[in-house]
Structures are given as C-alpha cells and as structure tokens.
C-alpha cells in the first residue's frame, strides 16, 4: 500500500509541472496586453512602460516562467497587478468560500438526486417516474443564471426571506452565512441532482433485476428493506464516484452562479483576473484548482484500492 502511495505521489510532480506550463503558455495566447489594461483609462505611455518593467512583462516568456516557478516553489505566487494583494492571500480568502458553497451544493444534490432516482426506478412507468424524469430534464436544462435570478425575485424581493446576494463567512455568523449561500448552493446542487437522479435510476433498475434481489424478495423480505438494504447499497457505488467528480468541478469555482449572487469565491476571482489580464492571479488559482482536482482523484484511487485489493498490483 505504501509503495502504491509513493508511486502515485511521485506521479503528481510531472503532472503539476505539465499543468503549470500549460497555464503559462495558454495565457500568452490571450489577446490583449496586461500593461495596457492596467494603465487605466488614461493609458499614458510612460506608465505602460513602467508596468511592463515592474512585472517583467518586457522579458521573454520562458524567463517570466522561470521567475514564476521559482516563486511558487518557495510558496510565493506573486501579487495581483490590480490591487497588489499577494495571490496566496487571495487564494486563502476565497478557497473556504468556494469549499463551503461546493459542500452545500453537493449535499443538496445528494438529498434530492438519490431519493428521486430511487423512487423513479422503483415506481418505473408510473406518474412518479415521469415526474422525476421531468424534474431531471428541467434540472439539466435550466440555465444557472436564470434560476438564480428567479430565486432572488421570489425569496428576496417578493418574500423577503433571504438576502439577495453577498456573503457572510461561517465564522462570523453561521446562520447568516447559510442564509447567504443557500440559494446559490441550491442552484448548483439542482443541476447536479438531476444528473445524479438519472444515474441512480439506471443503476437501481439494473440492480433490481439481478438475481440476488429476486432471492431477497423470494425470502419474503419487506419491499422496503429489499430496496434500501439490498439494492440501494450496490447501486450507489457509481453514483458516489460521480458525486465526488462533480465536487471536484464545483471546487474550481462556479463562475456564473458566484457572479449572480456576488459570492466572492474562486469563480469570481478567476473571471475578474482573466478580464483584467491579472496573470499572477490566474496562474495561482488554476494551479491550486489543478492540485485540488488531482488530490481528489488520488483519494478516490486510494479508496478503490482499499475496497478492491486486486488493484494494488
């Protein structure tokens, strides 16, 4: 097991190295000039020249890359050109926000998606099934920004129950924090719930037709315990994997949803950074996201190995 772990972690290094080169070179393909954007409305040539020099934009790309990697290796991601805040600090500020939103979204997705999937499989062909399918189709095809604005109109303007946007940190006031994130979490969770529902349904249908379920029924077990104790456990394994992958995607920031609800997370950070050509921020955020994604994958792999020793070879 240790051997396996060590091998996987060593494999991480070239992957991250490759990611870092990719981020750096893709960014160079972006049209537009960061110095020109940073020079403000006046765009004075002297000021532009000075910005280029200060941020080494006048140096060749490989040189810029070396400077950046050197910094990253010593824990320095550089600072934002736009507001001089260290990128590390920005990431430390935004990551907990995105993590909170992502976890709430995934909990909501599981709470809706799995029961809906099970019900529609068990009651296949009935109104329940059609209802759940309709919901899934709706969830997948409803754009986030539309649902977001509709929720704001209903719960903030008409009913006045929830704040329309903004974010309160969990540590400051957990109630207000949940109130400020429940709508965006629902918007994100709703779309994923629909996907989970579809997968749960098909997995359940498959399992329900298997021999052991028939045996369980033949034994005279209650239908409820056949479904919940025997069928569901087996059906859920692929669904949980899917959920974990969706969580990884959520952690890289939900651009549109964060924008609409003014949640200061990764999505908003990276969008602003791209439009302002704030390269250091883009690089730092993408590298962090990539690391999180790779780590989550590693954890999933380890979990598989624990479950299935045959993979250890």
């Amino acid at each position: 097991m240790l051997n396996f772990l060590a091998r996987r972690i060593v494999q991480l290094i070239p992957t991250l190295f490759f990611v870092s080169i990719l981020i750096f070179s893709l960014q160079q393909l972006l049209p537009g000039d960061p110095a020109l954007v940073m020079a403000g409305e006046e765009r004075d040539p002297d000021v532009i020249a000075q910005i280029r020099e200060q941020y080494r934009l006048d140096q060749p790309v490989p040189v810029q890359y070396v400077y950046w990697v050197k910094g990253v290796l010593s824990g320095d991601f550089g600072e934002s050109i736009r507001n001089k805040v260290p990128v590390r600090e920005l990431i430390a500020q935004k990551l907990p926000v995105t993590m909170q939103l992502a976890s709430m979204a995934i909990v909501i997705a599981f709470l809706i998606g799995i029961p809906a999937g099970i019900i529609s499989a068990v009651k296949k062909g009935t109104a329940w099934d059609y209802g759940a399918n309709f919901f899934a189709l709706w969830g997948i095809s409803t754009p986030n920004f539309w649902l977001g604005i509709m929720l704001i109109f209903l719960f903030s303007i008409q009913l006045g129950w929830l704040p329309a946007s903004g974010y309160v940190p969990l540590t400051e006031n957990w109630r207000a924090s949940i109130a400020s994130t429940i709508m965006p979490a629902f918007v994100l969770g709703n779309a994923i719930a629909a996907i989970l529902m579809r997968h749960t349904r098909s997995a359940m249908l498959q399992v329900l037709e298997s021999d052991y379920v028939r045996t369980a029924r033949a034994k005279g077990l209650l239908e409820r315990s056949v479904i919940l104790k025997h069928a569901m456990r087996n059906a859920l394994t692929p669904v949980i994997t899917l959920g974990a992958l969706e969580l990884g995607t959520l952690l890289s920031g939900a651009v549109l949803t964060e924008q609409i609800f003014s949640i200061p997370g990764f999505g908003k950070l990276i969008v602003d950074a791209v439009f302002n050509r704030d390269y250091a921020v883009v690089q730092g955020v993408v590298l962090t996201t990539a690391t999180i994604y790779i780590t989550l994958n590693l954890i999933a792999d380890i979990a598989y190995v624990l479950v299935n020793p045959r993979l250890r070879a």
């Binding site: 000039d33 000075q50 329309a164 006031n173 109630r175 003014s262 439009f275 302002n276």
Partner: protein, 503 residues
C-alpha cells in the same frame, strides 16, 4: 418524510431568527465592479473614485455646475505669468492617524504623486516642476509652463492628500490600509466582497457627517444590484441600466438621482493608421457622410428610452464649454449619399466596426449599422472583448471603434490626449497642425472666454475632419432608497457622502 419535514421546519426557523439589532446607521452602496488598489497615487479605475470620495478628501472639489470649490484647500491663486500657483490650506485638518495636514504633508502628497514608481498621477501633474512651502499652511506649485487645467486636476485623485507617516511606512502597500483626510476612515477590505469604512471623529467637517458606517459591495450584475436595493440589502446603487429606469421610478420606496455625464460615447474613426486605406480613412467627406447618416435622437430613443443626451462634441450640450455655434444637426441621408458621390466612392462602403462587448454598446452599434446602411455603408460589427479591443485600436487594426470616455471636469481632459498628433490615445492617428495649436493654446490661456474662443476653432476643425464621431452622453443613474436623505448627484458620477442622512 418526517425527517425531511423536520429539517425544513428547522431551517426555516433558523433563517427567520432576526439578526442582531444594530444601533449604528450603515449606508450600504452597491458598486458595479470591484475597485483596484485604494491608493490615490496608483489607482486608475472610475469605480475606485467612487470609493475614494468617502474617505480621501482632495484639495478642491466641484459643485453641480462644475465650479471649482474649496475642500482641503481654502483658495488658489495663479501668478500673472501662469507659472506659479499658490494654494492656501484649510487649518486644523487631520489625517485618520491623527497627523496634521500642513504644507509639509501637502508637499509630500503631491511629490509622491509625481515621483512614486507606478504612479498614475504623473501625466496629470506633468506641468508641475516642483512644490515649495511658503508657510505652514501655504504651498506654491512651480510649473514648467502655464497649464490652466491644473486646478481641475486637483479636484480628483491628483489632489488627494495622504498621511506622510502612514505612506512612508507602508510604501507601495499603502493602498491595502489607506490613511487620508476624508469623512470616513478605512476599516477593512475583503477583495471582491466588501469595503468597510467608519465615521472619522476628527474630520474637519464632522458636523455634517451623520451616518456611522459605509459599506461598499461590488455586485457586477445590474439586475442583481437592483434586486438587492429592492429587497433592502442595499441602500444605494450606481450604474442602473437605462432599461430599468421605469422600474425604479414606479417603486415608491426608491428614488432615482441623475446627472448628465462629463464624458462621451462615440466612434473613433481610423485615419492615420488604417492599413487597408479604406475610403473612410482617406476622405473627410466619407466620414461626414457617415455622420450625416446617424439620427442621434433616434439612437437615444431606441436604445435608451430617450433618457440619455444626444451630442456632437466632446463635452455635453449643457457644459460651459459646449460650442453653440456647432449645434447638433439632424439626419440627412440624401446629403450623405451626395457626399459619397462627391468623394468618388461607389457604395456600399464597407467598414469594419469594432465594438467592445456589452449589451448597450452592442445595441447602439446595431442601430448605427442599420442607419448607415441606408446611406450606402456596409458596416460589419465585430464584437471584441475590451482588453483585446484596446490592443487592436493601438495597432490600428480597425476602421471604426466604439469607444467611450468617462470624462474630466476640464475640457482639455476630454480632447487633448485624443486629438493631438501622436498623443497616447489618438487611436485615430489623425494629425492636424491647427488643431494641435488650438489644443496647446487651450492649456496656456486662463481666461474662460478666451479659452472658449480657442476651443471654438478646435471644434470647427474636428467637426469637419471627424477623427471621432461624438454620439451621446450617458445619464449617470444612481438609485437609492427614500430613507436616504440629502442625496445630490454630481456630474462626475461620484457619490458624495457628507450631508447624507439615513432615516
């Protein structure tokens, strides 16, 4: 199911518990963007200026009629040769850290703007050679050459005073914890989330400050910004969409405060940098024909419900420097066609129109396109992301470019850098000796009537040659709750908080 019901009830209960009662009054302002660094020397965004207005006073300010009025300074006097400006400071002014604002601090602040690495104020104060202290409350600016827009520059960031002690300690990180001499002092900032300020007890005009705290919240989506105002999550929002005006007006709990902007919205026409050498760049007649194809009032009606102000010059028609000798002319398609014929151009004249991304600019571009088509122009709209469009404008990779300017108080700020030969923002690449002379003369003359006469000459040339088509001036749209009392909108679009009361 029981558990679910329980969970819903519990959640509803938790969320409905009232927030802790606040005795303090807090003004919550919704901004359209997250500002850049809050250091007056290094700041560059319009939205940043809105925030500065709450915590960083300037030597001078403007009133609704664009007159320059004292703020941290009491008076200014320019010597007969125009090369010395003496400024008397207001006595008893303190910075947020308790340091006094005296001649030494004023000299330090201006020199910081002039010399600091990364300063964006250098070009604005380029005429200043050095700063001298006359007495503890008087400074003298020695100029390289007379520069009449100088005092107007000091009504903006170039005139903001910072605490020398705090600025020396913080260096280029001063903007992370700025210390100025305004009505509110900096408390905290969470990037892209909020900026918090609290009342400064030793403010020189503290008797007119009534609200305890101000919180700025950047909310990019205009619809969501308005939704927050309606739901009571905000007290004031900037940049309301023209299409939402009706909505705000019909809401009895909201009030709309407006003013016509100092800037303009227009189309820059590539004259000197057009590699394709299209007819638009080669002939003033073709440019005049394009201008005559436009019905500015119709653009205003169609896209902005008639709320904005059609214009044809770099200042709006209500501005003291608007040249009434060159009024707005109506659309004349027949004449436009005739001009094209005179220029020896066979329609359709194809024009590459670069338009920065944005719902309103794109809508205007479409109306312009269809109007121009009737006179024989085939305009191809190329919607381009803003940063990219700037780069292409610099490189001359366009024929027509829809570009806005937020505007400056002095007319020089709306003309010089765009019209002077080889000036940094002369994207058109236009060059005209007489215009250059008028632009330079406008900077030397100090008398308003004299300056206006100089700019009249300039207007004649620019309106004939048409390196830029000025189309309209936006209305600054600020919506706030009726609980907010005493709000007055200034033409620079900034939110002034002194004198405001929150019921």
């Amino acid at each position: 199911m029981k558990i679910f019901r329980l969970a819903v009830t519990a959640a509803a209960l938790l969320l409905s518990l009232p927030a802790t009662v606040q005795a303090q009054t807090t003004l919550r302002i919704g901004l359209a963007e997250d500002p850049d660094i809050l250091d007056p020397t290094m700041a560059r965004t319009y939205v940043g200026r809105i925030v500065f207005a709450s915590f960083c006073d300037k030597l001078f300010d403007i009133d609704e009629k664009l007159n320059i009025v004292p703020q941290l300074a009491l008076s200014h006097e320019t010597s007969a040769d125009g090369k010395e400006v003496t400024i008397k400071l207001r006595p008893g002014v303190k910075f947020h850290d308790g340091e006094p604002l005296d001649a030494e601090a004023a000299k330090y602040s201006i020199e910081r703007h002039l010399t600091m690495q990364g300063s964006f104020r250098k070009p604005e104060l380029a005429s200043v050679d050095r700063v001298e202290m006359v007495d503890p409350l008087t400074i003298k600016l020695k100029l390289k050459a007379p520069f009449s827009p100088l005092i107007a520059q000091l009504t903006d960031r170039a005139g903001m005073m910072v605490s020398p002690k705090a600025a020396k300690e913080a260096g280029d990180k001063f903007g992370l914890r700025p210390v100025c001499a305004g009505p509110y002092k900096f408390v905290e900032r969470v990037q892209q989330d909020r900026m918090v300020f609290e009342k400064f007890a030793d403010y020189w005009n503290k008797d007119n400050v009534f609200i305890d705290r101000i919180v700025f919240l950047p909310i990019v989506d205009a619809t969501v910004r308005l939704a927050n105002l309606k739901s009571g999550g905000l007290d004031l929002i900037e940049r309301v969409l023209a299409t939402d005006i009706k909505d705000v007006r019909t809401d009895s709990r909201l009030k709309l405060s407006t003013a016509i902007e100092l800037g303009y919205q227009g189309i820059t026409l590539n004259i000197g940098k057009d590699k394709a050498k299209g007819p638009l760049s080669q002939s003033a007649k073709v440019r005049q024909a394009l201008d005559l194809s436009l019905d500015r009032e119709a653009i205003n009606q169609v896209v902005f419900n008639g709320e904005f102000k059609p214009g044809n010059q770099w200042v709006n028609p209500d501005h003291p420097y608007y040249q009434k000798a060159f009024p707005l002319r109506g659309r004349d398609v027949a004449k436009a066609k005739a001009l094209l014929k005179e220029a020896g151009v066979a329609p359709p004249v194809s024009v590459d129109l670069m338009v920065p991304k944005g719902a309103e600019t794109e809508a205007v571009a479409q109306v312009v396109q269809s109007m121009a088509a009737e006179s024989g122009f085939d305009m191809k709209i190329r919607v381009t992301e803003f940063a990219t469009s700037l780069k292409q404008a610099e490189a001359g990779e366009y024929q027509a470019f829809m570009l806005a300017w937020s505007g400056r108080i002095d007319p020089d700020g709306n003309s010089y850098v765009f019209q002077k030969s080889d000036a940094p923002q002369n994207y058109s690449g236009w060059s005209n000796k007489e215009a250059d002379k008028a632009l330079d003369d406008g900077r030397l003359a100090t008398d308003q009537a004299q300056r206006k006469a100089i700019y009249e000459k300039l207007a004649k040339i620019v309106l004939e040659e048409k390196p830029l088509l000025y189309i309209y001036h936006r209305r600054i749209l600020i919506a706030h709750t009726t609980k907010l009392e005493g709000y007055k909108q200034m033409p620079d679009g900034l939110v002034r908080v002194v004198g405001l009361k929150l019921k």
